[in-house]
C-alpha cells in the first residue's frame, strides 16, 4: 500500500456546534459540518461525487439522506457500520474509491444527536415517541447472555478490559486519571470543548463510580455534534485554494472473534491496525508529533498507547503519568480535549483535529509546535473494530 502514500489528501474539515445543541437534528448537524468542510476546501456541492458517512444506528441508508439534503448525486455513496472505527474507514474507503476511478472528490462525515435523544426523557413536555433514552435501537439490543445478569451499556465491556489490565500489569485508577486530566487540560484551551473546567486527581477520585473500575471521569461525553472532511487526490488538491493535509498511511484490523476471546481486551486490534498504517506511511511511533486517540474511556487510551508502540505493553500507566500526553509533552494526545472533554462524535472530531494541527491553524497555546505527523485512531463496533490514519503536513 506504500504506493498510495501521499497520493491523497484531506482538503477541508468541518465541525458543527458541539455538546447540547437544541433544535438541530443529527442529520442537520452533519449538514453544518459538511458545509464548513466544503467551504474550507473552496468547493461546492457540485464538486462532490462521493459520500461516505454515518449517523445514529437507527437511521437507515444515512448517506442517501445526506445526499438529498446537500443536493448531491454521488457516483460512490455508502454508509459504514464499524462503530467508532467507521470514520477513519470512511477516509480509507474514499481513497480506495478515488484510486479505483469510482469518484474524484469524496465527502466523509459523522453526525449524532446523542445528548438530545438521551435527555429527552427528562423533559416531560417532549413527547416525540421516536426518541428514547437509549442509543441502541430496540431490535439490536441483546436479549440473552447479558441483560439477565444486569450487563448493560458500553461502559462495562471496556471496564472488563481495564480490570484485566490492572490485574496483569498493576495498572491503577491513578493511571486512568492522568489521561482524563491531561485531556481536560487541553479542553481548557479549546473554546469549542464542552468540559472546560480543570480536573484534579481529587475531583477524579471523588466522582461517583459508574461501572467500577470506571468512575464518571473515565467515561466520554454524551454529545450532539458532527464532523466532516473532504478527500481528493493530492494532484487535484494542489490545483485548489485549500490547505491540503497528506494521507500518509492507513490501517484497519478487527478482532471480530470477540472482545471476550483470547487477550483481546488487554491487547487490542490497534496493534495490527498500527503496523499496517506504519508500513504504508514508512513511519514508526517515534515519528508521530501528535496523536488523536479514540477515547471512549480512559483505559482505551492507555492500552492503545501500548498497542501503537508509544510505550511497552504494561507501561501505559507510567507513560500517561509522566506527563507525556500533555501539549508540551513527549507525545501530545487528544489536543482538543478528545471525547472525554471536547465532545464525543465517534472519532470524527479526532480526524478534524489531527488535520487542523498539521494545517497549523490554532493559536500558540493550542497548537502543537512544528507538528508534521499526526496519528489518529478509531475504535468501536462491539469494541473489536479498529482503524488508523496517519496524516502529514503537505
Amino acid at each position: 500500500m506504500s504506493e498510495l502514500r501521499d497520493k491523497y489528501a484531506i482538503i477541508g474539515t468541518g465541525k458543527s456546534r458541539l455538546g447540547r445543541v437544541e433544535g438541530v437534528s443529527a442529520l442537520g448537524l452533519l449538514e453544518d459540518a459538511m458545509k464548513q468542510a466544503l467551504d474550507e476546501a473552496g468547493l461546492t456541492n457540485k464538486d462532490i461525487d462521493g459520500i461516505v458517512c454515518r449517523g445514529p444506528d437507527d437511521i437507515y441508508s444515512h448517506h442517501q439522506l445526506m445526499g438529498q439534503r446537500l443536493g448531491i448525486n454521488a457516483r460512490f455513496s455508502t454508509t459504514l457500520d464499524n462503530g467508532g472505527a467507521s470514520q477513519i474507514l470512511a477516509v480509507t474507503l474514499a481513497v480506495m474509491a478515488i484510486q479505483a476511478g469510482l469518484a474524484t472528490t469524496v465527502l466523509c462525515g459523522y453526525g449524532r444527536d446523542s445528548w438530545s435523544r438521551t435527555n429527552v426523557g427528562k423533559d416531560k413536555k417532549q413527547t416525540d415517541k421516536r426518541q428514547e433514552p437509549n442509543l441502541i435501537p430496540p431490535a439490536q439490543r441483546p436479549r440473552e447472555h447479558g441483560p439477565e445478569f444486569g450487563y448493560f451499556g458500553a461502559v462495562a465491556p471496556h471496564a472488563f478490559g481495564a480490570r484485566r489490565h490492572m490485574f496483569e500489569y498493576g495498572t491503577t485508577r491513578e493511571d486512568f486519571a492522568a489521561i482524563a486530566i491531561a485531556f481536560r487540560e487541553h479542553a481548557t484551551r479549546n473554546p469549542e470543548a464542552v468540559m472546560r473546567k480543570p480536573l484534579t486527581l481529587e475531583d477524579y477520585m471523588a466522582a461517583r463510580l459508574i461501572v467500577d473500575p470506571f468512575g464518571l471521569y473515565d467515561c466520554s461525553l454524551v454529545s450532539d455534534g458532527a464532523g466532516a472532511v473532504v478527500v481528493t487526490s493530492m494532484e487535484r488538491a494542489r490545483s485548489l485554494k485549500s490547505r491540503p493535509v497528506a494521507i500518509k498511511g492507513f490501517g484497519t484490523f478487527n478482532n471480530t472473534k470477540g472482545w471476550f476471546v483470547d487477550d483481546h481486551m488487554v491487547s487490542t486490534a490497534a496493534a495490527e491496525s498500527a503496523q499496517q498504517a506504519y508500513r504504508m506511511a514508512g513511519l514508526g511511533p517515534k515519528d508521530v508529533d501528535c496523536a488523536q486517540i479514540y477515547d471512549c474511556f480512559t483505559y482505551m487510551v492507555l492500552t492503545q498507547l501500548e498497542d501503537y508502540g508509544f510505550c511497552k505493553k504494561g507501561e501505559g500507566g507510567a507513560f500517561a503519568r509522566s506527563g507525556a500526553l500533555k501539549l508540551d509533552g513527549e507525545l501530545p494526545v487528544n489536543t482538543s480535549g478528545g471525547q472525554l472533554s471536547e465532545a464525543h462524535v465517534e472519532g470524527m472530531l479526532q480526524i478534524v483535529e489531527g488535520a487542523r494541527q498539521l494545517q497549523g491553524v490554532y493559536a500558540p497555546d493550542r497548537q502543537v509546535p512544528g507538528a508534521e505527523i499526526a496519528l489518529i485512531s478509531g475504535h468501536g463496533g462491539n469494541t473489536v473494530c479498529h482503524s488508523t490514519l496517519i496524516l502529514g503536513k503537505a
Partner: protein, 138 residues
C-alpha cells in the same frame, strides 16, 4: 417468583438447548466433534475449524473469573436494589468464557483468576440462570 422484575432471557434458535440444559441444572456448551473445541455463545459452526457437527457437552461448571466489573449505575429498574453488584466474565475449565454474576460474597472479595463453580438460580417456573460462587482451587 412472579414478581421477578429483571430481564428474562429470550432464547434464540441456537441457544434453546443451552437454556433447556440450564433449566435442568446442567451447564451445556457446544463441543466440536472434529477438533474438540468448545465455545460460547452457541452457533451452528465450530468457530475454530468451521465443522458443522458438534455435541452439547456438560461443563464441569468449574472455572475462574477472567475479569469482573461492579455496576454502581442502575441501567434497568430491576436492578435498583442490587447496586453495587458484580458482573463477571467466567472462563470455564473447558475453555469458553461467559458472563454471569458472582453470588455469595461481597464485591470487594472478587478477584481476577479466583476459582468459581456454577450454582443454578431458578428465577421463574420455566427459566433458570447459571450464576457462580467462590470455589476451592483444585
Amino acid at each position: 417468583m412472579s414478581d421477578y422484575s429483571k430481564p428474562i432471557p429470550v432464547p434464540s434458535i441456537e441457544s434453546k438447548p443451552y437454556w433447556e440444559g440450564v433449566r435442568a441444572h446442567k451447564l451445556l456448551v457446544p463441543r466440536c466433534d472434529d477438533c474438540g473445541h468448545a465455545w460460547f455463545p452457541p452457533s451452528r459452526l465450530c468457530p475454530n475449524c468451521n465443522s458443522s457437527t458438534f455435541t452439547w457437552t456438560q461443563s464441569s461448571g468449574r472455572g475462574k473469573v477472567f475479569s469482573y466489573v461492579v455496576f454502581h449505575r442502575v441501567y434497568h429498574p430491576g436492578f435498583t436494589g442490587e447496586v453495587p453488584y458484580v458482573v463477571a466474565l467466567i472462563e470455564l475449565e473447558e475453555g469458553p468464557r461467559l458472563l454471569s454474576n458472582i453470588v455469595g460474597i461481597a464485591p470487594e472479595m472478587v478477584a481476577c483468576d479466583m476459582p468459581v463453580r456454577v450454582v443454578f438460580e431458578d428465577i421463574t417456573e420455566t427459566m433458570t440462570l447459571p450464576k457462580f460462587a467462590a470455589a476451592e482451587p483444585r
